[in-house]
Amino acid sequence: MSQPRIEQALHAPLEISFDYTRSLGPTLSAFVTGLAQRRILGARASDGRVHAPPFEYDPVTADPPGELLEVGPGGTVVSWTWMQRPLDAQPLAGPFGWALIRLDGADTTMLHAVDAGSADQMRTGMRVRPRWSDSHGAGITDIACFEPGEPAEPAESADTQQGRAAEPVTMVTTPIKLGYEHTVSPGESSYLRALAEGRLLAQRCPACGKVYLPPRGSCPVDGVPTETEIELPDTGIVTTFCVVNVPFQGQQVEVPYVAASVLIDGADIAFQHLILGCTPDEVRMGMRVKAVWKPREQWETSMRNIDHFEPTGEPDALYETYAHHL
């Protein structure tokens, strides 16, 4: 593969985002409910060590814990680091410390943020206390972060009053949003750029001679790059299809519509596209179709430039001529 073509590969942002709903099960539910009540709970393991947060299953015996016990709220920093430029969704927007915190009464540590102000305020052995957030029952983020100092004397504040009344929490929601830069292969880049010019540009495999539209990263049969470009017409046949009655998020075409495998004249694989310009029950396997392009000013590097395929009215292709493409 020639280097310059790789460097011109098309790329675009891809974001994946979902608010995951996590059911907690009995042990984590007890812990998270405890946080809602402004209590931090731990579990005693088979070796006698108190784990806070509690384990769901003992690291040695794999048994679930017995009754949970209260620890903290104060704790000691056992190890720490400094987050100078916080990332998305981390506990604090400004610089903060990460710490492994051994809550009073526990033998293991909990990972959380410490709002110490600056790195030189962080110290192994420093004492910290939780700063509670506005939420009750959101999970670990009920603790907004920890801050330096001893916990205040226990007092019934409005917050703890509200907390003690908290219903058992059985589910937490964790939003996960990640951004990526998605790159397509050199062959696909050429194909997409050609689409932006209203052309269908396929690639032929040097080993088997088959024509791929769209091109794959390499010939799937021979494992070699398909570099020879070959322009194809925007006509072809429907090999097979289904009639879609189920809309999906972002779909702009009204149901029912036909989603078909379209085999362009000269190509050796089919691709999915829409068949419009007739009723769904008029669509047949083998039907000859032609692309209907969107207006030129709407063209981009995408197959969306072809709005749909429509029947040409020519006689259907004989089954034997496309049976091997099914």
């Binding site: 099960g25 042990t27 794999a62 696909e188 097979t240 009655n245 189920v246 029912p256 596209h273 099914l326």
Partner: protein, 385 residues
């Protein structure tokens, strides 16, 4: 030549659309604890753990076996995580088998799961990358055109898919763990259900389930020492082909046919229809039953639908297919393949309860995934050879 391996026990969860009563670890433990109890093996006696599940995006946990190490008793032990798309449950069973057949381990716990209600399976399956033009969403839309091709190629009558769906849902009612239990389902009801992606109807489509499956495998010594029947693994096979290539047969994929040929040869089976007593086959959309019957060599090409139509694939027929209710009744994607493998083992050890095929001694477990490209299967029997 390999060391012998056997299924000492199996377990699975009660499968539902949302298991909101457990965490991910809890879901896995429910299946694992049942399997260990069934096998009469303590979790401390396990030498290695294999976890299988489909894309991490479904639960939003990267490499969840890391988080599950404690829950599955794997701390200090070897742990593998397999991911071969929809066939992963099957691949998990095969990898676990190879740990014993290679002579490396004596007792292996395999767990496959999906807690897909944490997100939404349709969303996770349908994330469209930039520059693409999605025309439909979900697996059903992907496979429906190929089902049309099968119907055309075989000239099967249009009610065959509905027969499969009604059968599998009725079978599900005999399976205490199944997600969908529809003991009264009729062909007419299926044919009257809404058409989703013509020719696939609503009732012919697998559900989205939370669930897990676990199997405990043992070597020959462990199997012989077992106080209860074990399912000997006679053969395993897996084959892969690309998602799309010129000349791909989407209806009767070569990878599936090659895997089956290798499987039968290794198991010493010359006539599958005669020598296999029960088959748990990965049928997520009803028409895959006749398609896979042909792909697996139970019927000649174009003839699979006749087996279905004749009633041969009902419990009590010549070749009961999916007595458990199959994927059409229960579908935690990562677990579905291992459920097929586990159910086949349950059949030959007489542990299938109300969905037991009487006298079953040799059974097939089968899984497929991706764009009909990954195939994993095994044959288990009540004797070592």
């Amino acid at each position: 030549m390999k060391h012998r391996a056997a299924v000492l026990g199996t377990g699975q969860t009660h499968h539902r659309s949302k298991r909101t009563d457990v965490s991910i670890a809890g879901l896995c433990r429910e299946a694992a604890d049942r399997a260990l109890a069934d096998a009469g093996v303590a979790i401390g006696e396990i030498d290695a753990v294999v976890v299988g599940k489909a894309p991490d995006l479904f639960e939003g946990v990267m490499m969840p076996e890391l988080y599950l190490a404690d829950a599955l008793g794997a701390v200090g032990k070897p742990m593998l995580r397999v991911h071969t798309a929809g066939s992963v449950g099957g691949a998990t069973g095969i990898v676990a088998s190879s740990l014993i057949q290679s002579g490396v381990h004596r007792r292996v716990l395999a767990v496959a799961f999906e807690k897909q209600s944490e997100s939404n399976a349709m969303w996770a399956l349908s994330i469209a990358p930039p520059f693409s033009m999605p025309v439909l969403a979900g697996a059903g839309g992907y496979f429906a055109p190929h089902i049309r091709s099968y119907i055309r190629r075989s000239e099967a009558p249009s009610h065959i898919g509905a027969m499969v769906a009604a059968k599998d849902r009725r079978n599900g009612a005999r399976n205490q763990y199944a997600h969908l239990k529809q003991g009264d389902k009729t062909v007419e009801e299926v044919l009257a259900s809404p058409m989703l992606w013509d020719p696939v109807r609503y009732d012919e489509t697998c559900p989205s389930s939370d669930g897990a499956c676990a199997v405990v495998l043992g070597d020959q010594a462990a199997a012989e020492a077992s106080e209860q029947p074990v399912a000997w693994i006679r053969a395993t096979a897996m084959r892969t082909e690309p998602t799309m290539f010129s000349g791909k047969d989407h209806v009767n994929p070569r990878a599936g046919a090659d895997a089956a040929t290798a499987l039968w040869a290794a198991a010493g089976i010359t006539s599958p229809i005669d020598q296999v007593d029960a088959a748990e086959i990965y049928v997520p959309f009803s028409w895959f039953e006749p398609m896979w019957l042909e792909n697996l060599g139970f019927a000649a090409p174009g003839e699979g639908w006749r087996l279905t139509e004749s009633g041969a694939t009902e419990i009590g027929g010549q070749l009961p297919v999916n007595p458990s209710g199959g994927v059409l009744s229960t579908n935690p994607i990562g677990a579905s393949g291992l459920l097929r493998f586990a159910e086949s083992a349950m059949q030959v050890t007489g542990k299938a309860g109300e969905h037991q095929v009487p006298g079953a001694r040799t059974a097939l477990g089968h899984a497929y995934g991706g764009g009909s490209q990954y195939f994993s299967m095994w044959v288990v029997a009540d004797t070592p050879d």
